[in-house]
């Protein structure tokens, strides 16, 4: 069997593992700097120029710390849950078209939208397990909240992710992304109601304010991370950051036209990656802005928001989109 060096390079370096990692650290820096400036303070500023290397420095620092395991923790789950979550998230990212083609295949396969949403659900489940295996009351209560929150919000997430699929007529991310550019305008213009709801749902899935409840420092000390130290904690943090990038990338692919944009001479792969990164940063900035703006809701308020408001609205938005496609848009 011939070893395909090109494929390995794509997986490991670009647009695979290294690129995703660097993008995650960069998005983390952007978030912290933005939050700091909004709060009228400086943010990271010493590690590297303007603090660019601060997330990397934090990661490396955590890798050098001592690893402590509680006596009553479930050993195997405790050790491998953070790593499993991280691996699932990066694997899910690998299916998204970044430079015109995704990491694994150049054209995806029909149904890979459902596959990557499933992977992200499994990754959240791994996070829940990591808190559950800690044998710490704070971890247990917090992981119960994580489970209720992400399982509850997964349903409107799936329904809203189906909206672009309906318009594009396919469940393949490639088809959805290229449909927006080649055939019609990006879906943010065609179905803005779905876009806004999707933003809110992603905010809840990523556990950012106002849906910050599982990570509530003031009540639960550390949430699911309470008993973690050292490299495992580094990977937990990294998983959270990759989740943010994944959520933003999903929005970019489904509603903003993916990596496709005007190619102004030269290599199309370069321009596609550039447009992808720019759109991703825009979404990250918007979600971070919303995070700093709000306080934290209580768990019962989060759940009632889901079942009483977001879910019915998601169903309504799907119905509206189907109606618009069938009767209104062909006329335009």
């Amino acid at each position: 069997m011939a070893v395909d060096f090109w494929l390995i390079a794509r997986i490991l370096i670009f647009p695979g593992f290294t690129f995703i990692l660097l993008l995650t650290l960069f998005c983390d820096w952007i978030e912290r700097k933005l939050e700091a400036r909004i709060q009228n303070r400086v943010g990271p500023m010493v590690a590297g120029p303007a603090g660019l290397f601060q997330p990397l420095a934090d990661f490396i620092k955590l890798l050098t710390k001592e690893e402590i395991e509680p006596r009553n923790a479930k050993k195997i789950v405790f050790k491998f849950a953070p790593l499993a979550a991280f691996a699932m998230m990066v694997f899910a990212m690998c299916f998204l078209p970044i430079d015109g083609g995704s990491v694994i295949s150049t054209s995806g396969f029909p149904g890979d939208l459902v596959v990557i949403l499933t992977f992200s659900t499994i990754a959240s489940f791994m996070l829940f397990l990591s808190g559950w295996a800690s044998s710490n009351p704070y971890g247990t209560i917090s992981s119960a909240r994580v489970l209720t929150q992400f399982l509850g919000y997964d349903i409107p997430l799936f329904i809203l992710a189906l909206t672009p699929a309906f318009i594009a007529g396919s469940l393949s991310i490639f088809a959805i992304a290229s449909y927006q550019v080649t055939k019609v305008v990006p879906f943010i213009i065609m179905a803005p109601w779905a876009f806004i709801l999707f933003l809110i749902t992603i905010q809840a899935e990523l556990e950012k304010d106002p849906f910050d409840v599982p990570d509530a420092e003031s009540e639960l000390v550390g949430g699911i991370e309470t008993e973690y130290t050292g490299a495992k904690l580094a990977f937990l943090h990294l998983t959270r950051d990759v989740q943010i990038v994944f959520g933003a990338a999903l929005i970019v692919e489904l509603f903003l036209g993916g990596p496709y944009g005007p190619v102004i001479g030269g290599l199309p792969a370069f321009w596609y990656s550039l447009w992808f990164v720019l759109k991703l940063l825009a979404v990250v900035i918007v979600t971070e802005y919303v995070t700093t703006l709000f306080a934290r809701l209580r768990i019962d308020q989060v759940l009632s928001a889901n079942w009483k408001i977001i879910l019915p609205l998601a169903v309504l938005s799907l119905m509206l989109t189907v109606a618009m496609i069938t009767w209104v848009y062909p006329v335009l």
Partner: protein, 136 residues
Amino acid sequence: MWRRTASHIFTKPATTKYPFVKPKLPEDFRGKPNYTIRTCNMIDLSGTQRQIGFDVQKLVNTNCTVCARDCPAFAIEIVEVDGKKRPQFDLNKCIFCNQCVESCPRNAITASTEYELATTDKKSLIIRPNPKEASK
């Protein structure tokens, strides 16, 4: 609220970037006691020269030990230097209240604005008068 937060992205942060930028202190900030502008060098117990001092001449006939009696942190100890009793200031214990500045009947202790006193050697914070200068 969102208008205010959006505008803050473009305003200058309110942080004073210490230690790159030092803040401006009011002139009667209560820093380390015992600075006068004309000083005699005193030797601290670790041997390095610290540029602090108090006006040793006025202490010649005092022997009142009021500063040691009034110090709330018990940071002033009366020691024998060259046959005379002199105060020894332990800056490890000092709370910078400047009560000694007020109590001294001869105004031999004055206040200063120095606050950057961190050091890695505890002994260099115990200050006593230099025996050579004390007998002038």
